[in-house]
Symmetry: C2
Subunit: 535 residues, 2 copies
């Protein structure tokens, strides 16, 4: 008794949201909806049931699901009892998925019906699982060969959760990221990380141009297995926005939900935006896109796509971060100088990588660790500090040491800074092309090529070169009939306009029907490089 | 080296503000102005000078000043080197002021020229002071009989501050509060308290109806010695608002600054609002009040004053907290239900005590610790938890134990809760009047009396009564000619309207010219009670 040592734990976010925004709703497709206050009751009930079936503090609980209310329940209920939420990447090949479950040493799993066959296939490796919680949308019991509980029964039979002794420095989540390179790395966060990240993101989205508020309806199109869905399942409790969950991604369903639920705020990678805007229904219902606030992240936003979105009245701000950073470090919101610019110039700032969000410290530094000048030319690496960055890779001290060299988190992203202090990523360190000792910024090059009317998607990768070390190769998904000579001429005019160095022009152009994609819908440059080296 | 253990320290707020809002300004009257980035440079220089003259981590540094840029510099520079900012209440009688300096064991003092005589008077008691930093607005050197440094010299000669090893749980501030009762109590806060409080307040003020943003210009009319000026010297760095400092309070100067600096956001106690609105210049420049966002706290807002402010186009939201809570716990911002109400009903919610701000947990409980029903009738005590509440009274374990009874901070404020979950304070515990075993809510009674056109200010206090235990007495500052019978008749009509219980009507009405005020401009009910008991 006496002084209450308040810990920054995720239950505090739910407590706030369900108190002040009690009538706001969580909506799963056209199937289920809960007010925040009802949701809190169900979260507590499910959490209490988890304790009853034997889930212990520190136990890892895997979730294998699309973006549903069940997942959202787990986002709170699992950490609230001191257990660890493992958000399993369902886009991984089955073997990789199982590997992550093994590596995390998961003790429990919450599994949607359609994923249970996967579990059975891996049965031989999953001896560590103490129990599985399954569910189907139709409320049919889903049996497995593991000790099985029904989610709905647990969620309904539980009672009010007694106060838990959880501390803010306890681990709350773990997930695996491969990016576009090699073996998945385990990344983990504490309660405190999640709460502070949420506070900062909520404060940032309340700023212009997004100005999020309780009048917004969120539908986040970042998978829930992907870096806490950028934090929004927690952020929504602070903002007081309705939260729409689309289940398995499907552009037609998403557009339908936008109409029905009056979605006004979303976040996604460029590919998803492209898929929605190019869906036939997008032009049928132009009104749903007017004023739509969209935070874009995950990979570079092609300028052409940004302009197309703007034309439809979409209000875009780019965000940036990585799995290791929970994820948000910067957002391209308005500084006072940028807010005063003419609309066109302001727009060009909104689609850059942005400026630090509150409490995050982000610098672009040269090899000696000095800040690069604000000249939009000098390339440096983005390094960061914030109160929500991962301490270490899970069971991987070697990569951890590299990540935290000199006490700054090294993102491996190369960027320039403009006179307003806005950062702009020009390359991923590992995708960088060094030609004759100088960097060719592949993102800038891609962006320029993407403005050609016959170019659908484009990716630049480096190819070994005897003379120059490396030379760029352009992979292009053309729209209609596109000839190499046409694109070469186009780039030469861009050289004349001063937008491009002549020696950046790729040596080869490879036309393909579609790109290999990673599990998070980014273009898989590693696969493209392999394609090149194998001819 | 390796993982950077990010501490929530006040320098992080300055770093953020001076990076993203570098061109925003801190303005002291018509005398001095700094951009945030220049300000940061001067703060670092001053902090470095403090180290040079021998200020050590843990040293208490008293500040004796009006609301100036010098004070604002100290708000950051002192905690940034691990020293403790003691914000001395300059409205205390000299002897009480000296007592607090002694009790805090201050080692250094930053003193504005006009306050140095006070220091000399207390010389005999101030042997603990190692040095004094003085300044005058005219930049004249101000000598004292202590080892003396000139503020401007220190602020100009210093260099960039090397990274400091300060931890978030280190004490950052201390100050004394007497409220309206007895001996001043020392209250202290850590860096972490200040940072988390700032994040939550910034997020709250960004919500409707205040919707603070970088487009706002703040002028906070809460003295800087008073509970961190409600946190705004730190909050402004997160919001990115210009920050106007009015020096010694003077309504004419304040109105002048509102015009010149286009002030759009302020915070103050009701008395200050009353003083500004009743100043002759207020009616001369009605345009400066249109859309003015004002957070009101510190004591109950009389309905009449609220309506007068509303008529002038002022956008009010009441806030609530106490010295022990850093201070903000609740603000009367809009929940979604309230936002949908007609303007008149919404306004009535805005002037209540409000709902919890993010991360704060506020309940109104009966004697058994159960929440009172949302019936606007049942009176309970406000208790709170938040990550920024004071751990203890400085060197006073006994009062600390009472404060933190049952692990909830006991505010001693009595309140009711309405159907929307808005809290409304009906009395201070120690001001409460218990008559025939039942509470008479003095704030409600005062509020009704204040609506009589001939009543200027009103205060209700309890008087011992043989039969009833206590009976209420009304002290009134009349506007013009007011007779006791008139006010009695008025209250009887209110009884008929169902707004008042007949037995609440005061037994006595005492007409006075003005009220005794506390050092923070609240009506001093203790003095009124003493007046009564001494006849």
């Amino acid at each position: 008794m006496g002084y209450y040592n308040y810990n920054l734990t995720v239950d505090k976010l739910l407590d706030y949201g369900s108190t002040v925004y009690s009538s706001k709703e969580i909506v799963y497709r056209d199937r289920r909806r809960y007010t925040f206050s009802k949701f809190r009751e169900r979260v507590e009930a499910f959490a209490q049931s988890l304790l009853k079936i034997g889930v212990k503090p520190g136990d890892k609980v895997a979730v294998v699901d699309w973006d549903t209310d069940v997942y959202m329940t787990a986002y709170y209920a699992v950490p609230m009892i001191g257990a660890v939420l493992h958000t399993v990447n369902v886009r991984y090949p089955p073997e990789v998925m199982l590997k992550t479950v093994l590596h995390a040493e998961d003790k429990w799993a919450i599994v949607r019906d359609e994923f249970t066959p996967l579990l059975e296939k891996g049965k031989a490796f999953l001896g560590g699982l103490k129990g599985v919680i399954t569910y189907s949308d139709e409320r049919e019991k889903v049996k497995t060969s593991f000790p099985t509980h029904d989610f709905w029964e647990l969620q309904e039979s539980g009672e009010r959760l007694p106060p838990q002794e959880i501390k803010e420095d306890m681990q709350a989540t773990v997930f695996y990221t491969s990016g576009t390179t090699g073996e998945p790395k385990g990344i983990w966060f504490t309660h405190r990380d999640l709460v502070l990240h949420s506070m900062s993101v909520a404060l940032t989205t309340s700023k212009p141009p997004l100005r999020s508020s309780q009048d917004d309806n969120f539908m986040i199109l970042v998978p829930m297995f992907h870096v806490h869905q950028w934090g929004f399942p927690y952020v929504t409790m602070l903002v007081g926005a309705n939260y729409v969950l689309p289940g398995r991604y499907d552009p037609a369903m998403e557009i339908e939900l936008m109409r029905k639920e009056h979605v006004t705020f979303s976040a996604m990678v460029p590919t998803i935006l492209y898929m929605i805007l190019s869906h036939p229904n997008a032009s049928k219902y132009p009104e749903v896109f007017k004023g739509w606030k969209v935070m874009i992240g995950g990979s570079a936003l092609p300028t052409e796509l940004a302009y197309a979105a703007r034309k439809m009245g979409i209000n875009i701000a780019v965000g940036y971060g990585m799995s290791e950073t929970a994820p948000v470090l910067t957002v391209a919101y308005y500084t006072p100088e940028v807010e005063k610019l003419p609309e066109e110039d302001r727009f060009l700032q909104q689609i850059k990588t942005g400026v630090p969000i509150p409490l995050s410290q982000v610098r672009v530094v040269d090899e000696k660790g000095n800040d690069v000048p604000r000249d939009e030319k000098t390339v440096g690496e983005i390094v960061a500090r914030a109160p929500w960055l991962t301490r270490s890779y899970y069971k991987d001290p070697e990569r951890t040491e590299k990540l935290w060299k000199d006490s700054w988190l090294h993102t491996g992203d190369l960027a320039v800074v403009d006179k307003y202090g806005y950062i702009r990523i020009v390359d991923r360190d590992k995708d960088a092309i060094k030609s004759g000792g100088e960097f060719i910024p592949s993102l800038i090059l891609e962006d320029i090529i993407s403005t050609h009317p016959k170019v659908g998607e484009v990716a630049i990768v480096g190819m070994k070169d005897e003379k120059w070390g490396e030379r760029p190769v352009a992979f292009i998904v053309p729209k209609g009939d596109l000839k190499e000579e046409e694109i070469r001429q186009f780039l030469l005019t861009k050289v004349e306009e001063g937008k491009l160095q002549k020696w950046w022009i790729p040596d080869r152009f490879v036309f393909v029907k579609e790109f290999p994609k990673t599990s998070t819908n980014k273009i898989d440059k590693k696969a493209l490089r392999n394609q090149l080296s194998s001819g």
